[in-house]
């Protein structure tokens, strides 16, 4: 049996990077599930990719440019209409800078 791919500390670290709060039961469930998925991914070690270029998009497209023109967009009321909290025509967020 090889070393585990992911430790509890790794899981907690990536959950923090991903900005997801995990409960203790979730961590216990996810850890072996992620371990088995990551172990499965080892199948890629069989592939010989020497001198192979990576593919990031399947169609041959270069930069798609358009004219920078002013067009109609949402008014303020519409733009804010789905927000859970607003104030004075702005989105409301918790404090972002320490006092």
């Amino acid at each position: 049996m090889s070393d585990p791919k992911i430790s509890m500390a790794d899981l907690e670290h990536i959950a923090k990077l991903a900005r997801i709060n995990l409960s203790e039961p979730e961590k216990k469930t996810f850890l072996p599930q992620l371990e088995s998925v990551l172990e499965y991914l080892d199948v890629l070690n069989q592939a010989n990719v020497e001198n192979i270029e990576p593919t990031y998009r399947v169609n041959d497209q270069k930069n798609i440019l358009r004219k920078d023109e002013v067009a109609e967009s949402f008014n303020q009321k519409t733009a804010l209409s789905s927000a859970p909290k607003t104030q004075d025509g702005y989105f409301t967020v918790p404090q972002t800078i320490k006092k």
Partner: protein, 487 residues
């Protein structure tokens, strides 16, 4: 009038000869939905008011002799990850419960502009992450052929709605098989178009270099009819391609089966395929052969790497796309957070479903420092191999024929606690998305327990006209697709 099993053109014939009104068509489907959907659970939202309003408007124009759109009278269900202005769009996730978008997705709007009538928004795995609808933040959709089985996913609600005759066609998305798999498990037809044929604008993003919106219908001819409206360049999606869109529905007879070379990839007829599935799919191939086509044995050796490539690249793109759910501009939020980081962490932690979290975590891991080259770069290189194998094979054959699902529909709950087992159901569909080529799924029989089996015809880039034509001709000489479940 009993409209059960009618296709778009059959319904339109009744509408234009004034044997039926659009309102009557809508009422027929609403009645079926009210009677049967409490068991099947294909819809999250039924848009009764909107549908009747659209229908009245169409009827008025027909009465006055005014022009109507190409899809007048056609009733559609829409996967709940397509944004629909003023109609709740949940993506089947608690994250977006009660979210009402301010704008509509491009291809939904194109269909509405042609007078297609929206009857409701369908269940899916949350944000389309899954293969059975069991990950939905609301409920699991049942397979209309057997209510103890999954419909497949992620677009399971749309597939079930077409199979149960709650509509004539439905919109779905196929990132790794999410149209073809449920189509196959529910005995309907589904098209995963070439990447870039249908605009992704206004659809919740899963993996942006894979996502393909597409359509489900009762037969291939209706797939063609709807796709000729959805397809084409969209300035709001820079990855759509500026090719002329053929009138697919007018050229369905163009391919001569006698001249056809059909590739049979050996890697798609081995483990994990079920023996009955293999027999029925081979029988479909033999039917083409007896109608003059030539079957050619081919090999796509990197197929065995498809799931691994997919489950690195797709979660990586998911983690990037899902990073945008901040609970500030729309969606659910949490209170009493001391700072912005805990606001994000608690909001995302509280409302994202387990599978949403798992995929974000896998992607974050694969993209994180120290692992990037081993996972993301390596998988992107294998993606090149898989793509080249398809395009090289398609130099020698016109089309590739393969199964869609290794098995028929499985029991609800059977794979729900084992993500890896659930991922493996896509063994025969993901490589097509990794490559970006088009594929149409269609019915080819039933197993001994009367559960549907399907196969797919895979073409080269932008060869929708060819694969639809071949699939249509198969449906002219078979009647599997006309079978409907006893409800």
């Amino acid at each position: 009038m009993d409209l059960k099993s009618l296709t778009i053109s059959q319904i339109q014939e009744l509408l234009f000869s004034k044997q039926i009104s659009a309102v009557e068509i809508v009422k027929f489907y609403l009645q079926r939905i009210k009677k049967l959907d409490p068991q099947i659970k294909s819809f999250i939202t039924v848009t009764e008011k909107e549908a009747l309003k659209q229908a009245e408007n169409i009827d008025n124009r027909i009465k006055k002799g005014e022009s109507v759109g190409k899809l007048a009278g056609a009733v559609m269900a829409v996967k709940d990850i397509f944004l629909t202005k003023d109609i709740q769009t949940t993506a089947s996730s608690q994250v977006l419960k009660d979210y009402v978008p301010q704008y509509s997705s491009t291809i939904y709007q194109k269909l509405i502009n042609e007078d297609a009538i929206v009857i409701g928004k369908t269940n899916t795995d949350p944000f389309a992450f899954g293969g059975s609808t069991e990950n939905s933040g609301f409920f699991t959709t049942k397979n209309p052929w057997n209510l103890s089985k999954v419909p497949g996913g992620s677009s399971g609600g749309s597939a079930a709605a077409v199979a149960a005759d709650f509509c004539q066609f439905a919109l779905g998305t196929d990132t790794g098989g999410s149209i073809r798999l449920p189509a196959s498990l529910c005995n309907i037809s589904g098209l995963k178009p070439t990447y870039g044929l249908n605009s992704r604008y206004g659809i919740t993003a899963m993996a942006s270099s894979f996502d393909c919106p597409g359509v489900f219908a009762k037969n291939v001819s209706d797939l063609a009819l709807v796709t000729e409206i959805t397809a084409g360049i969209d300035p709001k999606d820079a990855t759509t391609i500026n090719n002329p869109v053929p009138n697919y529905s007018q050229i369905l007879g163009d391919i001569d089966l006698k001249k056809l070379r059909i590739g049979i990839p050996k890697e798609y007829f081995i483990d994990p395929i079920n023996i009955e599935v293999k027999e029925k799919v081979m029988k479909a191939a033999k039917l083409f052969e007896s109608n003059g086509a030539t079957l050619v044995d081919i090999s796509l050796p990197s197929t065995k790497l498809g799931i691994a490539v997919y489950y690195i690249l797709v979660p990586s793109e998911i983690s990037a796309n899902m990073a945008r759910y901040d609970g500030i501009r729309f969606g659910r939020n949490t209170n009493n957070n001391p700072d912005i980081t805990s606001y994000y962490m608690n909001t995302r932690g509280q409302y994202m479903e387990a599978e949403v979290k798992r995929r974000i975590l896998i992607g974050t891991y694969a993209l994180s420092s120290g692992y990037y080259d081993a996972y993301y770069t390596k998988a992107s290189k294998v993606r090149t191999l898989i793509k080249n194998e398809f395009t090289n094979a398609l130099k020698n054959v016109d089309v590739i024929l393969a199964p869609v699902s290794p098995t028929v529909a499985w029991d609800i709950g059977a794979k729900a606690n084992d993500p890896l087992q659930m991922y493996l159901v896509d063994a025969f569909t993901v490589c097509i998305n990794v490559a970006g080529v088009p594929s149409v799924a269609l019915p080819c029989g039933f197993d001994q327990t009367n559960l549907p089996i399907g196969f797919q015809l895979i073409g080269n880039f932008f060869e929708e006209a060819k694969i639809l034509s071949i699939a249509h001709q198969y449906q002219q000489i078979t009647d599997f697709h006309t079978n409907t479940p006893n409800l």
